[in-house]
Every structure is written in C-alpha cells, then in structure tokens.
C-alpha cells in the first residue's frame, strides 16, 4: 500500500499536473476537458475513482502538484469514498496541495448536516473548500479557473507565492457556532 508523495519526482518544465478524484466519475471528465485547454502552462490531468492509485502506473505518472477531491453532496457514498481515500496521501500534500470541490450543494434534497461534515473535514485538514456547479458549461468554466489558479501556485509556477502561503489564506474555517442551533 503505497501513498502518493508530493516530492518523489522531478517537476517538468512549465508543467502542472493535477489529480481529480471522484467516485462517480461524472464531473471529472468535463472538468479535465476544460483544464487541458489552458495554454500558458501545460496541464496534465490524471483521473481516479479513489485512492490508492494502481502501482503499475507508478512509472508513467508525473509528479502530482494538486489533488482535488470532488464530492457530490447528494450522495453519501461520494463523501465516504473521498474520506477513505485521504489516508493514502502523504502528509506533505496537506501543506497546500489538496483541495475539496463540492457539487450540488444547492440541491434541496441535501441534508444540511452533510455540508457541515465536509466543512469540518476540510477545516481539520487545513484545505480550501470550493463550490462548483457541474450542470452548466459556465459552472465548469468557473470551477476550472479556480482550480487553475490554485494549481499554478501549487506547481510553483507563480513567482513569490507558495502553496503553503496560499492555503493559509484560502483554507476552510469552521464558524464557531456550527454546532449551535440557528435562530432563523
């Protein structure tokens, strides 16, 4: 059982590599198609259903600069799968090279506790939590732009910025009264 390590390989010139983890394998495809359109840097996308990644791809896999866990809030399974995958990541990744992307958060059928659980998870790992709309092309474009911003920093392509510095600014925080009943 090998865990994925952030610095075990050399980086490529002007290249950023992103790993999208989604148990449903729906949104990741459209997101990947949009991500590789980026022209200023070469973006390589790896898609996975869950971690750990298969050993036989170890050789061909480039250095992964950013790991994105896509969580569909309407499905409990999606969250559980992401949660179970986290332990196959090297702790080094949590210094700014992991982020969570939540979809379907506005769906009425989502229990409110589930979003709180995801929020707590992201906060406990000091990771940013992004929200995305996966049904519309605009939503995909937006999510792509946000991910590219983080990815470029995480890959070290932005002068004077590091992943750790950015994640200090963007990490998810849990409001203090999250467990309190609201009065609305």
């Amino acid at each position: 059982m090998s865990s994925l390590k952030p610095f075990s390989k050399l980086p490529g010139l002007n290249t950023a590599n992103i790993l999208l983890v989604e148990s449903e394998e729906q949104f990741q495809q459209s997101l990947a198609d949009a991500l590789v359109e980026e022209t200023s840097v070469t973006v390589n996308v790896r898609l996975a259903k869950s971690l750990p990644l298969p050993l036989e791809n170890e050789e061909s896999r480039p250095r992964i600069d950013l790991v994105v866990f896509i969580i569909n809030l309407t499905s409990e399974l999606s969250f559980q799968s992401a949660d179970a995958s986290l332990k196959y990541l090297d702790p080094g990744y949590f210094l700014g090279k992991v982020c969570f992307l939540v979809t379907n958060a506005r769906n009425a059928s989502v229990p409110t506790e589930r979003l709180d659980t995801v929020r707590k998870l992201a906060a406990s790992l000091h990771c940013p939590l992004l929200f995305a709309e996966d049904q519309t092309p605009d939503g995909v474009t937006n999510a792509t732009e946000r991910l590219l911003t983080i990815l470029k920093v995480a890959a070290g392509l932005v002068p004077l910025a590091t992943a750790l510095y950015l994640s200090n600014l963007t990490q998810c925080t849990v409001p203090l009264d999250i467990d309190q009943p609201s009065f609305d």
Binding site: L19, E25, D33, N44, L47, A48, L53, P54, S60
Partner: protein, 345 residues
Amino acid sequence: MEDSTRRVLQRLIRRIPTPQLKTTLEKWSGMTVAQRGSMDYTQTKWALTEKLLSLCEENDWTTKHITELEMIYVIDNPNQGMWHGFQLLDPEDDAHSVELTQFKEQFKSHLGELVRHVSVKIKKHTDEAVWIRIAWGDSFSRPNHLKPTYVVHHLQTPYVFVTGLTSKQKPLLSQALVLSTRHHTIKDANLSGRKLTAIRDLLMKQYQQVFPTNFPSPLAEKNETVSNPKIEREQAGPGAHRHQMACEAFGDGMLPQLQSAVYKLETKFKDHTNRTMTERDEPFKCIVKFESTNLLESLRYCAASGIASTPVTPLLSSIPLKGRNYFVITDNGPGPSSQMHQSQN
C-alpha cells in the same frame, strides 16, 4: 344499428388520441375512399365521434367491424395496460409444426367448448405474432366487447403475452392455449410490464448480449473516443472490467425498457441490536420494489460505475437471465447462517 355497437365505437374513439386516429382509420377497410377523404381531423374529438357514428349508421357497421378497428389500434400501440408473460411447458412431439390456420381453428373450437358466449378474433401481425382478441360472456350474457382480453403468441415459441385477463377467465384461456399449441401445461412467467415490446424482448432474449470471454475484444481501441493525451485515467483497467461485468449481466446496447422489479422477502429478520425482531419465529415479510423508466439500464449503470458491487449479485442478474421481474425470496433453511436464495416458485 344496435345500441351496443354504438357504445363500443364511441368508447373506442374516445380511447384513440386524435393524432393516431387518422393512421388507424386509414388501415381499416370499413370506410370507402370518399368517406375517408371527407373526414376532417382538425375537428374536435366530439365532432369526429358524431361523424363516425353517422357513418356507422350509413355503412351498417356491425360489432365485427368495430372490433377490427380496435385490433388495428391495439396492435399499433401495444404499450398500454399491464401485460403478463406466460410460458408453455412440456411440448408434444408435433408442437413445432403447429401452423396458423390449424391454431386458429383449434383455439376457437376449444374456447367455444368451454364458454358458450365468447367472441374470438385472430389476426396475424407482420412480425410473425398472432394477436387474439377475446370478448368474454357467460352462459347468460352476450360477449362484453368493452373489456376484451388481448393475447399475443408467437407460433413455435413457448411464450404467450396477455393483457386484460381476470382470474375467472384465466383457467379457460390457459386450457384453450395449451390444447391448441400442443403443450401440456402453462405457467406464469412472473414477468409483467406496461411495454409489451420490452417483456417480449426480455423473454425471447432479443437484445444484444455479451458473453464472458478471456480475451478483450480486438476492436476495443476502435470504440474508444479519441481522448486527449494529457488526460489519463488511473483506474482505466478496473473500470473497463466493471463495465464488461455489467454488460455480461445485463446485455449491451439498447436494453428492453422494463419498468419495475418486485422482490417479496420472506426471510428472517437479522439484526443483533434488535433482539425482539430477530427472535421472532415467523419470517419478516416485506416487499422491495425497484422502479425506473428503464430499470435494466439503471442497474447496468449502477454496476458499471461501481455503485453496486461486481460481479453482479444473482438477485439482480436473474432479471434478464431468467426473464422475470417478480421474485419471492425465502431463507434457505433454519439457522441464522443460512444464505438467501431465490425460491424456484
């Protein structure tokens, strides 16, 4: 003209949606070309009905003509009402040589012996199916044409599809069918659905099936869409394997549009935290029903995407394998370690 004929015609016209009315009437031989031309289909349904009733008066149509019109409509639009599948068992030696005229005569005479007042109409459809319309009466009343039973049988196959049959008429129809198709018994195939085409395709296995193979298809790379070299799937192998397993269980391509599957559980309640329920002697009865616009497609997707585990559990894969969508599940034997199994019914 009799009043009952008018009622049957009125009821029939009400059932047929206006867009289908034209095509249905054109296939029917009851009207002359001039009469067909005089119909104005932009009129309201009520006006059309009045017009047809006056034509009925004029042409002196009998119930026979009207039932023919009804058959034309039902054959063209079979996906209405609940269709049930039946299977004929133990064929006699000459069962495979039954042909249409012989079947027609035999069926009519056998049914006529069982029920005095019955009206049977048999029509052969282009796709080799024999359509039978039965209007039932009993010894005191004349055949009721408002609630007919439709039977579809493909000659030389053991399958029969029935809609609109009551439990009282079931033994009569079974006996007539068994005798005229030269079989010994008939049993319920435990398959029912709103779409006749779907349950027919499922029972007769008329869909693209995938068989287990050790070698991946040599044309596999052809089917793949041209993907970007920058995008790579880490778990492409297991994904393709899951897809293959799902296709082996449910078939490839377009699947029959089955809309529901029912599992009747009569098993022991097993939960260590709930002693009162676990220690009960009688089985815990409940019904699990799956519904979808295309159930098999949904199940295949569940298996292919990893939501349901592969290899597919026999509980789900026996829907296409055995061609049924009603199962009774009982415990295999006494004792808490017994496995669930499907009863053979």
